[in-house]
Symmetry: C2
Subunit: 343 residues, 2 copies
């Protein structure tokens, strides 16, 4: 039978209120009493009951704010599903969740939405733009008692409680590993990056290069383009490079705009090129189905959404800080067979 506060109170000869004060550091307690209660709790192996906590927590009213740069970006759909799932759990604690979305990585807009949300939230989950002003704002919120978790994209300064997102370096390494396996370690690579401002994109490049050095010295990067996650731009720049350097045999699309890249490939009749991409959206599914993309490296967006909300709930209900500074997602490899349901 699990140990309860009541039992500790009886064994220690004090009231439940006092036990609560000791165990949760509220109010003042006689040092001797405190010592005794702590010992008894330790001895009995007390573990707080989450259901009891949940019920008691309902008297408070917390609201978790979430800001995502997700408008028009299908990648976030899964993350929203994960948030939704965790939201149901949060409802048991009478904790509400307010999601606000932004179009693109727009710094001014993000700052503005933070301002709007601030008065009504007790916690912020932020799809952070990598900028000094955001870091400062996180610092400010934290000081005012609104803790912040960054999701999917991080800042450098360690003011947030933690970060939930992919390990960009490992993602790049995994892409390089797949490319090595698929090309026998001989690829001449075009890197299709997104935007060099985005921290995660750079990490993928570092990881990719690091793997080439350590495990696949036979592969080399011939060229790099930036797509700005824009299919039209991606199309034009890919076409230009492939025309200029027809010796390219593989492309690593480490950000969005894989459709644009693949359009160029098709138009030039270069279906022999091995394309490794990132993430899994309906557009990506179509490219894999067509055989244009051979593999894609995913970052568990559903889990990102679910985990971040769960951490926020634990903090609000339980005063529990996240156990880790970084909750790194798995880099899942998807190919035709483990993504597409045959009929």
């Amino acid at each position: 039978m699990a140990v309860t506060i009541k039992e500790i109170a009886e064994k220690s000869g004090v009231s439940r209120g006092t036990v609560d004060r000791v165990l949760n550091h509220r109010g003042s307690v006689n040092p001797d009493t405190e010592k005794l209660v702590k010992e008894v709790a330790e001895e009995l192996g007390y573990r707080p009951n989450r259901a009891g906590k949940a019920l008691a927590a309902r008297k408070k009213k917390y609201n978790i704010g979430i800001i995502l740069c997700s408008e028009g970006n299908e990648f976030f759909d899964e993350m929203l599903k994960g948030i939704d799932r965790a939201q149901q759990e949060a409802a048991d604690y009478a904790i509400t969740v307010t999601v606000r979305t932004i179009k693109g990585f727009n710094l001014e807009r993000q700052l503005q939405v933070i301002d709007e949300l601030e008065p009504e939230i007790n916690f912020l989950i932020l799809n952070a733009i990598h900028d000094r002003r955001i870091e400062d704002r996180i610092h400010e919120l934290t000081k005012k008692g609104i803790p912040v978790i960054t999701i999917n994209s991080d800042v450098e300064k360690d003011e947030r409680l933690c970060h939930v997102g992919s390990d960009g370096i490992k993602s790049g390494e995994t892409a390089a590993g797949m490319m090595g396996l698929l090309t026998g370690g001989s690829a001449k690579v075009l890197l299709a990056a997104g935007n060099k401002q985005v921290l995660g994109h750079n990490q993928r490049i570092w990881g990719f290069c690091s793997c080439l050095r350590k495990r696949y010295p036979g592969m080399q990067i011939l060229s790099t383009i930036e797509t700005e996650d824009d299919d039209e731009l991606a199309y034009e720049r890919t076409k230009a490079v492939l025309t200029d350097k027809p010796e390219v045999t593989a492309i690593y699309v480490l950000a969005g705009a894989a459709s644009g890249v693949c359009r160029a490939i098709k138009e030039l009749g270069r279906q022999d090129i091995t394309v490794i991409a990132c993430d899994y959206t309906p557009a990506m599914e179509a490219l894999i189905r067509e055989g244009l993309v051979k593999a894609t490296i995913c970052q568990q967006p559903f889990t990102q959404g679910k985990t971040s909300v769960e951490l926020a709930v634990q903090y609000l209900v339980n005063d529990t800080l996240p156990a880790k500074k970084i909750y790194a997602m798995k880099n899942e490899i998807r190919i035709y067979e483990n993504t597409i349901d045959w009929v």
Copy 2:
């Protein structure tokens, strides 16, 4: 604010007890009252509070029994961790979990352990041996009010509440897909099966063959061996086949004993052979690190353990039947880069 039974009672002008009777079908209620209460509950969008339920459920004492054919098999370590995680959740409901392990897929022993466990459990999670006598026993337990969920290996008869495990067919397809990508669709394959009695192993073979037919007609299966999950046997039989048919270029190890297979490969100096395997254990990690196994198809053992216990808890606390008949795990592809932590 979430709706509670109390609010429904007030709006309907009846007591909380009556609302409870209507909503949970206990005791008799005046049809008119019932109709009214149901309408109000519907209108207000009542969702029962899990914390409240959990707390009230603590007065009962449930025990979940788990039987695993796991002794001496490292594959189950992750599953046990998943069970352990869910067990902590179960503790909030005062539900206990009793795990019993068996060495190998031993029918008589499994029947015996079921007998031993029966008097003390309210629910059984069974790593089922695919046999008529087990099916009959499941039927019997269910009739006596002890529901059964099968985990990792299923029976054919649909008497269990549901099955939690890998989709064997998709696993085989994914292995074939990886092999196709890694060999340019030209592999001459040796299949290293485990035991043809095991349903999951056969499914992997079906999936593998089906993928060859639909997507990789250029690959062909030259030979099949059964390893009985025994490394020594696997070593000998692999060696024999590779000596007899040196034209083999790839091996699909769809059960245990990958170490034995790889020992034969090393001894014959045939490191050029593309090996695709299953599951991820410390032994598999070593093989991947050495480069002997190029990819392995995993089946989320942690999630299997966690999910099955969670479903049992939901059933016992909430009378909630599993939403699906089969909880199919993802087939995760792991290669060197997304398994091994570089230093």
